[in-house]
């Protein structure tokens, strides 16, 4: 008995087979993508879930019962509030400074050809190729050696964070600058604006999105940094350092709360951006239709 497929002439059979294969392949890919997403989000779900747990003892890895207490009393654990505050302050400050410095460097690298261009590019690249443990410990030797003693703390962490963020800012802004249309600036200058005004009114607004992206990246890197910070923090605690210390004994649910909060704020910002882009794309489409 021949099947319907076998009854078809050869070329049509190949057509059916390849269509069937393409169907499977197309949906296999989607299934895979969804599984991959689930894998990526699994620990996050666990973290958020256990932030609502009321553990029986010191240890928070067995689900006991639901409670809002941890979220309401998130700062009841000694040291956590100070750590979160320090993390946010350093991230904000370091991001501002690094974005400013990095943007200037990007402008120089893209717009000018000068003696030392290659060397500069290399020096910008090196921090990204250096393992954090090496960067952190070498910075420590700068602060603590026989010749001088700088007190380890907020400002040493700040210095370290600016240092490793600059390179990422440069790379991000550079990418945007390379595709930049210089004609707009030339037009502005033809219309009488000097260089500074042109920079202020034309260049800056146009690279602002890249600077924002670089700033966000820098902020994320700073908030999450552990290795370099650990080595140069002295007595000061950032949130990752706090977690490392308390994980030796028992991680309280309040740590989950803070981690979840940072995550949710970031996601909210990201979602906001997604929706805004979607809306403006739709608006452009609607306008085009009219």
């Amino acid at each position: 008995m021949t099947t319907a497929a076998e009854a078809l002439p050869t070329r049509a059979r190949v057509g059916v087979m390849s269509r069937a294969w393409r169907f499977v392949a197309r949906h296999a890919l989607t299934v895979y993508a969804l599984l991959a997403v689930a894998y990526l989000l699994l620990p996050i779900v666990i973290v958020i879930l256990f932030s609502f747990n009321h553990p029986t003892g010191r240890f928070n890895y067995v689900w006991n019962r639901f409670t809002f207490d941890n979220w309401l009393n998130w700062n009841s654990v000694l040291g956590i509030q100070g750590a979160v505050q320090t993390s946010l302050e350093i991230a904000a400050l370091a991001t501002l400074v690094a974005t400013a410095l990095g943007t200037l460097i990007a402008l120089a690298l893209v717009r000018h050809r000068f003696f030392g261009w290659g060397l500069t590019s290399l020096i910008i690249f090196l921090p990204m190729a250096t393992p954090e443990i090496v960067m952190g410990s070498s910075l420590l030797t700068l602060f603590l050696n026989d010749q001088n003693t700088i007190q380890l703390g907020f400002w040493t962490i700040f210095i370290a964070h600016v240092m490793f963020t600059i390179s990422f800012v440069v790379v991000t802004v550079k990418a945007r600058l390379i595709g930049f249309d210089r004609h707009l600036e030339e037009a502005a200058m033809d219309l009488g604006a000097n260089e500074w005004k042109t920079f202020q009114k034309v260049t800056l607004p146009l690279i602002a999105p890249a600077m924002l992206a670089a700033g966000l990246l820098g902020f994320a890197l700073s908030i999450d940094d552990f290795v370099i910070t650990y080595l140069n923090a002295g007595p000061v605690q950032t949130f990752p350092i706090f977690v490392w210390g308390i994980a030796r004994v028992a991680v309280p649910p309040q740590v989950n709360v803070v981690a979840s909060a940072i995550f949710l704020v970031a996601i909210a910002l990201g979602l906001g951006n997604v929706i805004w882009q979607y809306r403006s794309a739709r608006r452009t489409r609607n306008q085009a239709v009219e």
């Binding site: 993508a33 990526l40 410095l101 020096i123 070498s138 910075l139 600059i166 908030i223 490392w244 882009q277």
Partner: protein
Amino acid sequence: MGEFLHRHKGLTPYLLLAPGMLWLTIFFLVPMGFLGYQSLESGLFPHFHFSWEFSNFSSALSGYHTQLIRSFVYAGIATVACLVLAYPLVYWIAFRAGPWRNLFLLIIVAPFFVTYLVRTLAWLNILADEGPVVRILRDIHVLAPDGRLLATTFAVIAGITYNFFPFMALPLYVSLEQIDARLLEAAKDLYSSPTQAFLRVTLPLSAPGIVAGTLLTFIPAAGDFINAALLGTPNQAMIGNVIQAKFLESLDYPTAASLSFILMGTILIALLVYARVVGPEKLTG
């Protein structure tokens, strides 16, 4: 000021560079110099003295080459795993997700927003020896009855793969997203099968992304120590663990410093080899 800049146009780049490069010089290059100085010291804490002790390097290498090689193996496997796992996902987002692509991109990056340590601790929770995941795996005989997932090489590599996934996924996405869909249509018009279209058009065009992704993943992974510390045993110790222990526990700064340079040097050599194989233009783009 505009006048001044006009007349000294050549100065502009240097002025732009100055603040940032000064920062990097003082807080990156100079410390590296100090580290170099330290790597040639000898003695016991806290009485070190400079003595051109090049033997630090040879004894560090002979003492810890196991951990060094292991780091590169783990980082290599993790990088390949990231590539294999990320590519289909990113391909799907770039070509099939349509209007949802930004949302899914956000989801890929999302784990990054939860503190590194908290993420890894969550895995400790999920893969616990007496937890549900391990118990199920034992019941279906994937694991031996006394088998475990934590404190194994698998756990360390899995941890590295998970934690560096976005570093691979994002560059891949950037290059895949730039591929003009019309090229694929053209391939179809020229009678190529989907597989051929992928191999002949998509894959080569995504090469810059692959290169960037592998670099951004491999380099930090080679120096990582947190995954090995939390998820492994002393038999999985990576070179990062040794350097950290030497700096923070045994206070053996000369050995730690020389190990740091050995690590950096090996990474740079690997980079050069990679560049030669892949083609130098791909790296700088």
